[in-house]
Symmetry: C2
């Protein structure tokens, strides 16, 4: 009770898009929240769980830019909690998978704010699944690696990523050509199957399936943009065999 | 309507344990199911969503053995669907992450059975989170690899896994010493932080945090067993800094 009276922040994963992929806990916390602080890529159907009088604060970053600084988000969370409010910090996917949730948790910890982390469905698994791509398969892939194509503090270790049986690259919609070229230069075969999934699990989801060497060209031709996720590996070939799942998209 | 009348199988991820980490869709499908076919590691609170008169069929594999053959599970799913039933095939974690969901989907596809895949929270993300370990962090890890320590058709590529910034090994409770030794032999520093999480997100969750070189000994001393997940990487060190999260377990 003491904790409630002085406010608390819930770092909640909203999943990849589709509102029914929210967890029961996330839905309950949204129903109970006084304040909801949310990103750009949150489906409107998810926000509908919030009470009509809950305060919604939008802190989205447009197009990968830093229109809202991370430190400002921390300040909002801390200020709302100090007003004694139950604050849901709603993040796309899972808070701890490229979500900067760890930074927000550390900031709350440092400020002495009570908080809790509620995992959500990561796009890294749910988005390939919605395109009929299992990220692991007994015969084809015994591991899966999630990474981002671009990151603070330099390029990723392409020679490592080129060896991943299944590689899932987040934020792959921009500079896709550069990404696929880097993987091929680092040793990944240009003939390996690859798929780019735009807006995975959303109503307007689109998929381009090709080889690693050709996926950037085909995606450009089809006009695919952000947000998108790139899947590279033999598992992509299962997509054709899981025809019923594919037909539904 | 036609599809319903001839039965349908939903391959549903139940998440890592905690019943509130179920998705809204999984809960709805359980409420609507005529038959629920489930594994061993499904929390009783998850099964409570099923209707009182739903038929529950247990197909769990004890201790990693093959007490129920995969082909028999396929046969059960196909037979139940052909009786015109709505069948929920409930799997721990996510169906496509080491869950053999791809094999089940392919078997249903081959049998001409209508099916759908409903992703669930993977233990690979939610279990480290419940032990206050973010699998990625802006400064410490730009990628995360999920793998199993043992697999059909030979050993994993330890030299690849030894290079993962964050490595999450499923089914790590058995032969942990062998696993950590293999990683160190393949070049991973024995001093890197590592944590073994037993029964992650369940009420009786236990965590041993140590170095990669010492985690097997400490886990044995503490009596940790299966199911367990091993996390290796600098991100494990965040656990101490996320003290509030740790205190709650």
């Amino acid at each position: 009770m003491k904790e409630t009276s002085r406010g608390r922040v819930y770092l909640v994963g909203a999943g990849p898009g589709d509102p029914e992929l929210l967890t029961l806990r996330a839905a309950r916390l949204l129903r109970e929240a006084d304040t909801v602080v949310h990103d750009r890529l949150i489906h409107p159907g998810v926000l509908e769980h919030a009470r009509p009088h809950a305060r919604l604060i939008y802190v989205g970053k447009e197009g990968g830019g830093d229109s809202v600084h991370q430190e400002d988000i921390h300040a909002v969370l801390i200020a709302q909690a100090r007003l004694g409010r139950a604050v849901v910090r709603l993040k796309g996917g899972d808070p701890f998978v490229f979500g900067r949730g760890a930074e927000e948790a550390l900031a709350l910890e440092a400020a002495g704010i009570s908080y809790e982390v509620v995992p959500g469905l990561s796009a890294g698994i749910a988005v390939p699944a919605s395109a009929a791509i299992p990220v692991t398969h007994r015969d084809l892939s015994g591991e899966v690696t999630f990474a981002t194509a671009f990151r603070a503090g330099g390029a990723p270790d392409w020679s490592f990523l080129a060896r991943a049986q299944t590689l899932v690259l987040f934020m792959a919609g921009q500079r896709l050509e550069e990404t696929t070229t880097a993987l091929i230069s680092a040793g990944r075969a240009a003939t390996i199957p690859a798929a780019l999934v735009e807006a995975g699990t959303w109503e307007h989801q689109r998929v381009v399936e090709a080889t690693l060497g050709d996926v950037a060209r085909q995606a450009r031709q089809a006009g695919l943009g952000s947000p998108a996720l790139l899947v590279v590996g033999e598992v992509v070939s299962l997509r054709a065999r899981l025809a019923s799942l594919t037909a539904r998209r």
